[in-house]
Symmetry: C2
Subunit: 273 residues, 2 copies
């Protein structure tokens, strides 16, 4: 097949400004919470949509930017099991689009990472509903910026892994042997409940107790907190910290030393206009 | 140490609107090229900065949004070797900040991925210059949205890897054995010149010839092109496609079937206002 059609396709891109039509759906990532981390495209979609289906972690400050006449539907799911079922979300999406509404499906972070996007796209495909996908800032990007580090670094790691602490079957299994190697950097999503499991697996595969681990709660938000610890102390330190917001766990990264001492940076922070 | 200080720090966050002060630096990701994928924060920084040091891949449409009085300095580097040295970039950054300018360091994609951010942050730390980091949309997020897929999918992969095709030593080495496993998904940055190397390594470690591979050129831009191929045909197909823009290679992902047939999506595309 590839031999017969080696030429690239120039499928319609979504470059430029969005114009959301009746009966169409935009899937957009809202970013990690700070409304200033919305993309211009997502902001436009918020203002054009007549119906907005949003996840639990989409922040109120972001929903406040929606068209005041838009209908906002909370289809939030908790970590270990749905409140609104995925099937129900797909049904609502297609029903609104089929009723001729301009629909925005707003997912926290980046819609293409751990967001079950495929199931919703397939529902639209099956129903003949046109859509486009707007990427968003994922929590790992915001969290690593918050600790003054980068996900990759010359001489340390030329790859980075994003993984989830649990999936619907329970704790997610991964390539622990590779993750246990010195210099590896990984961002664990939804990892708060799986710290003992992750710790155990990594130590079993030879990771050192002193491996730096950083947990960032509420990345990018005004109530962001940073826990600097090690693989050895991760479960106990995290329990003591009592994080109740969304948290991103970095294996192999400690906060930059200047992050906690650099007070001038507060000058950069202003109220939202 | 962790035992003595288990409490999380609430380091100053950068939530809310940016107010770039004289003598300070904002490091921001510009996203993959579509100016509508800028974050609100990056747009504000573009408008406030007096000096902007930008990378080769930052698109002209984005630079057009800068304050008209800002000084724009191209510090672009080609893939296999610097034009402006990293040392020189650090020098210019700190010199402008020390001269009291509001400085924006604009990197294509997300500043924290394959951007040598650490070296520039260290230069600021050493010079006592305050900064903040604004995450951006990375090319992989935009490219996967462009092919109608997601980076992770229940039942297929609960982790994804971002890696680089080459580093300064030449071809970058990776955990090929893990990458060769069925169902693995990885995004390769700067991978155009390393396709034969990557193909060889993966096949050596047991990847099948039929492994789907998709290359997205100019992700998110009006001239985006998508090459659907397999590990077997990757080098020849890519050579024939003659991509000369930045390209992102997905291992383990094919474009969604509806992407090339869904013509209604063009209705969503409007000129930039």
């Amino acid at each position: 097949m590839s031999q017969q059609m080696p030429q690239p396709t120039t499928a319609p891109t979504t470059a430029g400004r969005i114009c959301l039509q009746p009966g169409q759906v935009v899937f957009a990532g809202s970013g990690p919470g700070d409304p200033e981390l919305l993309t211009l495209k997502a902001l436009t979609a918020l203002q054009q949509a007549e119906v907005i289906l949003f996840d639990r972690l989409v922040s109120p400050e972001i929903l406040a930017l929606a068209n005041p006449e838009a209908v906002l539907e909370d289809v939030g799911k908790e970590g270990f099991g749905p409140q609104v079922s995925q099937h129900d979300i797909c049904d609502r999406l297609t029903a609104h689009a089929n009723a001729g509404k301009r629909v925005l499906r707003l997912k926290s972070g980046d819609a293409t990472l751990f967001g079950r996007l495929d199931e919703e796209l397939s529902a639209c495909d099956d129903a003949g509903i046109a859509y486009q996908i707007v990427p968003g800032i994922t929590a790992a990007s915001a969290a690593v910026a918050g600790i003054g580090q980068s996900l990759t670094q010359r001489g340390r790691n030329s790859s980075v892994r994003f993984l989830t602490g649990h999936d619907t079957q329970g704790f997610a299994d991964h390539d622990w042997q590779a993750l246990a190697r010195p210099g590896e950097v990984a961002a664990i999503y939804m990892g708060k409940k799986s710290t003992r499991f992750v710790q155990g697996r990594l130590l079993m595969h030879g990771a050192t107790l002193a491996t730096p681990v950083t947990v960032v709660e509420n990345a990018s938000r005004a109530n962001q907190r940073i826990l600097e610890t090690t693989l050895e102390h991760l479960p106990t330190d995290l329990a003591e910290a009592r994080f109740d917001g969304p948290a991103l766990t970095f294996l192999g990264l400690a906060p930059r030393a200047s992050i906690t001492t650099q007070t001038e940076i507060t000058d950069l922070k202003l109220e939202l206009a």
